[in-house]
Amino acid sequence: MPVEETIKTSQHFVEKEPYYEAINDEVDVFSAAYNNHLPILLKGPTGCGKTRFIEYMAWKLQRPMVTVACHDDLTASDLIGRYLVKGGQTVWVDGPLTDAVRNGSICYLDEVVEARKDTSVVIHPLCDDRRILPIEKLGELMQAPPEFCLAISYNPGYQSVLKDLKQSTRQRFVAIEFTYPDSDTELKIILQESQVDKKLGEKIVKFGRMTRNLKGSGLDEGASTRLLVNAGKLIQDGIKPVVATDTAIAHALTDDPDMLQAVHELSRSIF
């Protein structure tokens, strides 16, 4: 399929309102933090809507949004930028963070604990009242405009002790905690996102709750709302419910044959 269009990261506006179902007062808290130039930490298990929430806020605040999925080789210069060689000359190219600061965007560092420790060097001065980004290679200090906002996400559930968020980092942020929505909200989300009918939606929600009962007794995590939505989409497209929950949920959760069998049978008992 041909690429429809490419845009520069700094111009990535969220144009259509993303579907987001507020669980608590997170929308107000985010807006208030944004108005007061405070950085934001989103905590919560995978697939409970952290990224969707940021998209929604970017749309609501009408700011461009830059997302960086952090990985264990991500260094400070990957965020800030580096010199590249072009036609015998060296040219400075902004990294996504610098780019976001320059344009007053919302910069979202997803799973920030995965990144290398030296990234804190650039995050720290940006996150206190100085709001500056030191660009060592250029010998510059960049003052962030009021529109700029830094948000990071962090899953306290399954990271190893080696990858905990340091106090000196986390104590710079306004922290918003995310959990799985309650059954009614979750049903609403599934109906909206996957377009299944209400009766089926209720069954999917019930199934999700059953897998969460197994958390700690064999599963590391229960099915996230995202997985439930995925299963709903498959069912809506004509896949048999038990096959859909097996592929979209059970196998995504675990490789353990005993657990797979249990989750499969739970699905069979509902659908």
Partner: protein, 712 residues
Amino acid sequence: MIDNSKQNFLNRVRVQKDLEGASGESAVNLTNIDTLVSEIAELTPEDQQFLFEQCRSLSETNDELLKSFVTQAPKAFSLMASKGVQQWVDNAITMYDNKGLGSAVEIIEQVEQYAEEYSNRGIRCDFDEASTFIRNFVTGLGGRELKLAVDSESFTDTESLYLPDSFDLFPVADKNFSLYKLTATHLWAQTWYGTWRSKVVEKILKTSDTNQRLAKFNRLECIRLEAQIERDLPGLYRQFRAMDSEETEGKKIWDDWKSRAARLQRPGAKALDSLELVDEFAEDIVLPPLQPYQGEMHVNRVYEILSERIEREKEEFQSALQDLIDDENSLTEGTEDASKKIELELIEDEDGGAGDTKFQMSLDGEIINIPEHLQDLLGSIMQDLGEIPEDYMEPNENGEYSDKLTEQTETDENDVASDGEDGEIFRYDEWDCTRQRFRQRFCSLRELSIPLAESEFVDETLIKYKGILKSIKRTFEAILGENRLQRRQLDGDGIDLDAVIDSFADLVSGNETSEYLYTRYRNKERNIAVMFMIDMSGSTLGWVNDAERESLVLLCEALELLGDRYAIYGFSGRTNKRCEVYKIKEFGQKYSDEVKQRISGIRPKAYTRMGVAIRHLGHLLNQTQARTKLLITLSDGRPEDYGGYKGKYGIEDTRHALLEIKQAGIHPFCITIDNEAQDYLPYMYGKVNYAVIDEVPKLPYKVADIYRRLTT
């Protein structure tokens, strides 16, 4: 003809001789030995060999058992193949280990019965096969955690599901497995849909002809639960239907009952409704036959568990409420307000499954989050009572929910008790080399805590080994340095683009260029979990014990620096009934003062039963996630315990335990101060996986050094 009978005679002589060789005098003295010998002589040579092997291993176990085996053996071979015979003997030996000679001989003598069971086994589903699945499945369905146990009948006491030890009702194994699942589900449904609400139980117990009424109540509940399951778990409902028997007479009675008890099938029907209906069925003498998955009811067992739990959970509930208030008070310091009141509001009452009911909790009008354990508690109380009674929410005359002071002293006493006798008991198999098989669930092991001692010992050690500690720390720091990606190297595996571009920029602007343009990777990340297993046997008394403790202190200091995950456990014990491991530091626990005090508190205890400790600690180690897992034993001698656990037996069991954990991906290693260790350690741990330290005082810094070598 003569040749033939001569051959037979020679055969018999040979068999008798072999039998005597394998089983000693005792078998040959049997009264009917001649008949037996001629029967054995007719077996195939393979079967004969096999029989003699069994005799050899049984002669190590018990003479009586051996005799009855020899008597029954020819019959056994006529009924089963050698694999079946093997299992029959294994079964008898396990029974001998667990229940004594009488039960074991019984198994041997009932060989026909065993053979029949054995031939059914292909289609049979055993409890052990199904239990893991059922546990997961029932947990997934929801509600309070239910234990599984074996019993001759299927029923529940609301805390455990009792299931038969096997099902062989259907000629297909899968269907027998399904039957297990559905039986468990039916019992689960009783706990989930309120069959055993306390009101119901009390009412049943008050009636005069309890048993008769209970039988009818059971049938009516089957009708009600079936309807609930049809609504909530339609997939399961279909599986239930597929399992129903085809028998028409029974079906007719069921249909009759169902039509008369139609109101039980409506949403919102309660167990109390079933109980009321029992009177309407007073005249019925013929009851509908229970389906195979519909268990029995034992109301007295339920009552015992229920009344104990209701009381306990009320206390727990109120103490949890008090915790909430205490937390709140500690936030608003100084203004301790005794009149704080918690209110609970029901937001959503789901049909049937009361454990799913949702609550909103408010403290002085402000909505608060319900902590997870309180949520579980609420669920469990709802399952028993169907409501949270008002007096649960009423503070006592002091305005408090729970009197912490008295409770605290009580738990203190409990703690002392649990240090002594109580606590969870883990059972492990032990390898018996003389019989070449496991003694099943032979060892009982408890996890105990070490009493805290003064932590001065730690400080003293740190001062005593100041110099060594410094050098240990330096070498360990070097390990850490090695693990990063090293940029700007003179040579290496990759090109450091940043360095190249920098030097290019330098070149363009006419500056001096650098030669350090490469990157080099070392081991990317330390992903190590290590378990230290400390010998606390009586023989370590004195300086060995001191050296062990000092080693641990230095090691902890070093490991904190590295960030490796580590745990420390001591082990000792006396006989297979009292194996003990002592928690010193668990994985995930910080190297806190408490840990230091425990290290100081390590004292010599009893004997060294190593196998069971290795199995237990290996199991614990396996539950942590790490790429590299190490089990390091600090020991002063060979495995030894009361009751024959010495010499070859002890070494073989330890070796077997080590092989088991190796298969699970754990690297065992042993550090010992026993100068004779060369004789047995290579056999147990392998040629390279041990270190002998010839002088006790060297232990402390050697241990750290060995650990460094092991993990770099």
